[in-house]
Symmetry: C2
Subunit: 354 residues, 2 copies
């Protein structure tokens, strides 16, 4: 046992992200990146900020970026927190708002980073199973808790819950913070953001990584009542004064400013998702109804076999070994030619079995 | 008392960074930024990475950047950890390596973020006073401890300790991790890095913000034995999988690759520091011997008055209200014309008192 480690380090089981192979010719459908690039205005804004001013610290409060987000969502700066990717925002939320005497609740099949944060910050938690059809039923969270968190749409299932269901949950849990992790919300689900003005216990977390095609830049944010945001700020200012660099702040502001591009990319992803869903169904795959930029699907052959067969063809998808979902694959919606390659390969793989 | 906050949030007294005024005509000598810009090769590397690949996640392990640092220092990748600024690296080190039953030791006059990390992670600490001349005497740390951390050179004093003194400390504390925070080491102090191969309990933390003129990009790193680095990796992978964005990684690699530029900028800063030190001394200021890119100086008039008088002239320096140092100012070494403006202003301010 390494003698220099703090006690908490021994206990950790770190999160394992999807692999990032460096091979350039792979069709990479394993980490839910957007197949379309960021807005040209984002690249221009980065270029304009790439100069001698990089010798200077960024604004520690990222005020201009927070103002841009506040204006976009019809909120105030005091409703906005920004971080180095939504994973960092979530980490601060776990420590600042979700650690209480009663256990935190989250779904059994969900973002697998949640239990990792709980281990890091010594947060007691209880998992709430999804139903057999992988639906997330918020009424199942009616039990004593110190906080609730779930992704909407859920990952890796892609299934969404309605705003009305979230509102009912907020009303039933006035003493707990409810974190809605909306990493994928822009691909067709109902955002909880319009309820922020009415519910002091609602924190919504979003990211620039998916719908805004900026996974490479690390920008996430939280929206909520000022009291919740202040807790995040206090933890952030006790951890790292300057989490957002100058280029990321400039990029984020430009992305928020290019609404037509954002809408166009969302639409393209959703159209491709419908096409892939229909084609997969035609090949005998079960496909859950997805509101995300991926589909969760059960192949007619063992999922691990299909994953390996795709890999041999240079196509990478994500497989999880958790018992309830080991017969399923999570496949990111790619560009049209990538989805074509996927579907052609799957047609071959399925027919091989016959 | 805000009801949704985790208990730890109530206890926090966040770090307050030096202000980052947005006014463009200020002479900003308050946050130890480098007056010279980053290497042109850094700006080229960022430009080359500013393209459609920003839609993709960065390498979660920043392997190329870690390899560049390992090669530069004659170490292995397993000896290198990188983070979103050295503040993040320090935060992880506090949680992963410095939290033990015995108290952490650090100087009373030092980087004021250390007690903030202790509050965040609930680490017991004991402060070790500097001597009356603000020297850091490592023999004063000979007491039971769960870890030791100090900056070398120290901040805000600028005073350095020798490698031999650090080695003696390492030998006297084989059961504790000793963190040497070398944010300013490139401006003339002796680095502890050559001792990493011989001492498993040594962690050295450095940054791209000061000597490499990249405060705006947020890049820091730690060097140490693989066991120490693994502890940091485990905490990082339980907090944020992708802390280093694509542009920062490219910039860091390019910076490490331009040694002549780095050496030239260091030399310029050190030459200006000697010039400023002599001129201040001539004006009746006491100046501590500095190995950093700032000087710590006691003006012949009350420090707060001098700070305000400088401010009225558009020159910002840093004043700390802590009792032992409230008669002192920390002044960053600027570009030659900025230092000229500082010295001219101080000459006026000092003569006004007569």
């Amino acid at each position: 046992m390494p003698r220099y480690w703090s006690e908490v380090v021994h206990r950790l089981t770190p999160y394992v992200p999807g692999e990032q192979p460096q091979h350039p010719n792979l069709v990479k459908l394993n980490t839910n990146e957007n197949p379309w690039p960021p807005s040209p205005k984002v690249l221009e804004a980065i270029a304009a900020a790439t100069d001698d001013r990089l010798r200077l610290y960024p604004d520690p409060d990222s005020t201009r970026l927070k103002q841009a987000l506040a204006d976009y969502f019809g909120l105030k700066v005091e409703n906005v927190f920004v971080g180095n990717g939504s994973d960092e925002v979530l980490a601060h939320a776990f420590q600042a708002l979700l650690k209480h005497d009663a256990p935190l609740l989250f779904p059994d099949i969900s973002y697998s980073f949640y239990p990792v944060y709980c281990n890091l910050f010594e947060i007691d938690y209880r998992i709430v199973p999804l139903r057999d059809d992988f639906s997330l039923v918020l009424a199942d969270f009616d039990q004593p808790n110190g906080g609730i968190i779930f992704p909407n749409p859920n990952a890796p299932t892609g299934r969404a819950v309605s705003r009305a269901d979230i509102e009912a949950l907020l009303q039933r849990n006035p003493d707990s913070v409810v974190v809605v992790d909306e990493a994928y919300v822009d691909f067709g689900a109902e955002s909880a953001v319009p309820m922020i003005a009415r519910y002091d216990n609602l924190l919504v977390v979003q990211t620039f990584s998916k719908s805004r095609s900026l996974a490479g830049l690390r920008l996430g944010y939280a929206l909520g009542a000022p009291e919740l945001i202040e807790a995040l700020v206090r933890v952030k200012d006790s951890f790292n004064s300057y989490p957002i660099d100058r280029l990321a702040e400039a990029a984020g502001i430009a992305s928020i400013g290019d609404e037509p591009y954002f809408q166009d990319v969302r639409d393209r992803v959703m159209r491709e998702r419908e096409r892939v869903t229909q084609a997969l169904t035609g090949l005998g795959f079960e496909v859950l109804p997805s509101k995300a930029n991926f589909v969760f699907t059960r192949p007619p052959r063992p999922a691990e076999v299909v994953m390996q067969a795709l890999r041999e063809r240079g196509i990478i998808v994500r497989h999880f070994k958790a018992p309830r979902i080991r017969n399923w694959l999570r496949i990111t919606i790619g560009a049209p030619h990538e989805n074509d390659a996927l579907l052609t390969a799957l047609e071959e793989i399925v027919s091989e079995a016959g």
